[in-house]
Symmetry: C2
Subunit: 312 residues, 2 copies
């Protein structure tokens, strides 16, 4: 079932950062790349339904990147253009393509970002609150009229500096998505399963703990679901993998128009699939020209790698 | 199909170390424990078929440990008792229950171990060459009359010090089983999938790369198979998990009497299952009194955690 978008409205609202990245990985070194959590998540979700972006860019933001958003069919009514420089990040990945070192972070216009939802976004059923401060996540939630399924991401910075507001977010969302280290930091619990269950006790019915190349784990009413990661033989740039994962996941829920536990498990496989595609190139390059058939092919391969019957 | 054991013969021969361990984990600290790769692998495999042990112990080896082997129904015709002290190992695990520090290793009688197969073992179809020097693995292989499926394990020590002999082993076995760090060390290839495929080019049709709590990956003619790890909420002692995994895997192949790729995938799930049980207690304690029904129940839970339909 594909949701047919109504003119002017969106099925999924994604809020987060938009950045211009300079990245060195063992595969290559590139600068002035389109990045940020909202770029990856919206591009990934754009294959599944109508997505609205909430973010901020400065006057230096290249018009070709705005054009690229449009090519993906992303609704830009929530994209704020302001005077000043766009958020910039640069980093270097270790040989393992997992650990990375931040060389510089310049928040620039992102420092004064207050996400405002255009009227056409407020009745959207699905919300992905990407990695911004929990106060801003709450500000977005306050503008949503009848959210049906809300997912929040977070990071160690907010766990360390804004725990009370983050706890308010956690109590109000349907799903918290975070990585293994963040789950341990948030709960003080080393064991991932116990850590996820602890967070569920605080409110969200669902918790997804991301483990990078090792996949992810959903904690849910019917027990854990183990999300496999597609074993790539050539990773170019892991930046944004978690955001593509979240975007693909939310996209598939939108496509199904449902958020029950079975749909969620299926959607997590789509998330893993599109994340595996995204890291095969820098920035959003792998998503350009990608068709839904390519996603289905990769998903089919992933399923075949977890079925007992080879080729099933 | 269950293989009915013929009197005096065995379906699976396991060769490896037998040790007395002193282990500290974040859960507890225990000493004078029965350990060693062959102990874990044989106990795990004993639930599936008739297993013969090839190992060496000293005159200090407690008779109750020999009795325990017998309780598991392990054939001990290949167990050598010699004058001197049994191999001893002591180690401390980090909070993550993954990294560990060896406090002491005393090879003792294990230093002069030459594995000899009793006549009743030589026609066995399945062989698990546990972690001993590649020269000794070759010595065992030379005594096997018509091995149908041979799996070898290895470790960083042999990769560093006995690479030529190890390459001879690799060329002659059906499957190499090793952990992620060892695969990278052996091939110089960081990417695990490429690393496994490289090893396959050297000879073995199958390679299993173990990733501890993240499961394992099979590389095989029909492509990779991702073996999930059961997410435990209470690990007591991870020692021997890889050996239990290998033992359970081989055991299920014995039980099926087959080693095709579908059987192999299924057997890897049994391996993951029994490994997850083993680490819930120190030494072989979790296997004592365990029934095959308990293994099937845990396997059912693991399958439910990887199926798209919850409870399927």
């Amino acid at each position: 079932m594909t949701v047919t978008p109504k003119q002017g409205t969106v099925d999924l609202v994604v809020v987060g950062s938009i950045g211009i990245d300079s990245i060195a990985t063992p595969a290559a070194e590139k600068s002035e790349l389109l990045g940020g959590s909202v770029s990856y998540a919206c591009a990934a979700a754009s294959f599944f339904g109508r997505v609205g972006m909430v973010g901020i860019v400065g006057s230096d933001f290249p018009t070709e990147y705005v054009d690229l958003y449009r090519e993906f069919g992303i609704d830009l009514a929530g994209l704020q253009h302001v005077q000043g420089r766009t958020f910039r990040w640069s980093g270097v990945y270790d040989d393992d393509m997992i650990n990375r070192r931040t060389l510089s972070t310049d928040l620039n216009v992102f420092a004064d970002f207050t996400p405002e939802l255009p009227e056409s976004y407020r009745a959207a059923p699905f919300f992905l609150l990407g990695n911004i401060s929990p106060e801003l996540q709450l500000h977005v939630l306050g503008q949503a009229k009848r959210p049906r399924f809300v997912v929040a991401d977070t990071m160690d910075l907010w766990i360390d500096t804004a725990r009370d507001a983050l706890m308010d977010v956690i109590k109000r969302v349907n799903m918290l998505m975070l990585n293994d280290g963040e789950a341990r930091l948030l709960t003080g619990e080393r064991n991932l399963r116990r850590s996820g269950e602890r967070i569920r006790e605080w409110g969200p019915e669902y918790v997804v703990i991301k483990k990078g190349e090792h996949g992810a784990m959903l904690l849910a009413p019917n027990g854990p679901f183990l999300v496999p990661a597609y074993p790539l033989d050539d990773v170019q740039d892991p930046t944004g993998a978690g955001d593509s994962f979240a975007g693909g996941f939310m996209g598939q829920l939108v496509r199904r128009g449902a958020a029950d536990e079975e749909m969620m498990r299926e959607a997590l496989l789509y998330g893993a699939t599109i994340a595996s595609l995204g890291v095969e190139a820098f920035s959003l390059d792998r998503f350009v020209g990608l068709g839904f058939g390519d996603i289905e092919t990769r998903l089919g391969e992933l399923r075949a790698m977890t079925a007992v019957t080879p080729g099933a």
